[in-house]
Symmetry: C2
Subunit: 182 residues, 2 copies
């Protein structure tokens, strides 16, 4: 990092704007490399885990759900928020996989700790490749409505390449899993 000190912003102070259930919002004042002060709007989020579950036949399990921010149904890899910023994303990954799809994984291999929007949000999503799958029983959260779907991983990766799967964690997870397993 020392070699990039010329790019660094120094934290000065922060004002809390909003305390929500999913995220908080604050205004942070930083000192820029040129000595001036600037205001940064920050969304603070606990983080999340996401899972690419691939079975021995090369089939991946995805979940379809309504996303009100985009007013559309989206097809995504299973994922969920950490219970707290301190929760091990691996624990969250196993829990969300089971809750949303009913799948249990013998192996969870981390693919990437991905940052969706580095410019203004603290969220990071750790994405795992889950293999050695067996069926349990799904139990979505109350107020969570999902449709579970399976397809060949190769077809899902081809959908990403055609721009048909818009969700960032889904696009990254599927391309990385396909590159690794093919």
């Amino acid at each position: 990092m020392a070699e990039y000190d010329g790019l660094k912003e120094v934290y000065l102070r922060e004002k809390s704007i909003y305390h929500g259930r999913v995220f908080d919002v604050s205004e942070r004042i930083v000192r820029l490399p040129n000595g001036k002060e600037a205001k940064r709007e920050i969304v603070t989020h606990k983080g999340a885990a996401a899972v690419v579950p691939v079975d021995d036949q090369g089939m991946v399990t995805l979940v379809r759900q309504y996303r009100t921010a985009h007013e559309t149904v989206m097809l995504e890899i299973p994922a969920g928020k950490l219970d707290s910023a301190a929760e091990d994303p691996l624990v969250c990954a196993h829990r969300e996989l089971m809750e949303e799809t009913g799948l249990k994984a013998e192996r969870m291999e981390p693919l990437i700790r991905m940052v969706p929007t580095p410019g203004y949000c603290t969220e990071a999503v750790t994405i795992y490749l889950a293999t050695g799958l067996s069926a349990g029983r799904a139990h979505p959260d109350e107020d969570e409505f999902l449709s579970v779907e399976q397809m060949p991983l190769e077809d899902a990766a081809a959908m990403v390449m055609r721009g048909e799967l818009e969700d960032a964690k889904t696009a990254i997870g599927l391309l990385m899993a396909y590159t690794k397993l093919r």
Copy 2:
């Protein structure tokens, strides 16, 4: 969409919480498929464009910058916010490429319209593959401090596969460009 009506949430009303320079925040009340009401916290963002600039020798140009939300310097593809939600992302892509790297592109091919955080934010990032590059003069925004770096696209894609480039648009853009061009 009709086949997924069982997943749909119906918009009821919205309360504005915060009006910022980069994003707005609101609380939206929706009716769930089970008839109950639920509150959704929404970040409204104009959207952005991002560019994977690859020259005739297969070198990609990246920018390194400090990201205060993650308190670290990150290596990313060139990108920037749309001037307004109505701006053509292609116009934004050309502008941001020139501002951040000084590069002019003969060809801009859309790779994907990517949604970083579908659960709570309206942002979409259209990612382009830029080729036919020629050098102009970079002119970053005041208060924007960047370091421009070049490397073989193959090396950048390998960094993504090792989990070393965390930014979502960067990971997706590099993997898609590498898959397309190789």
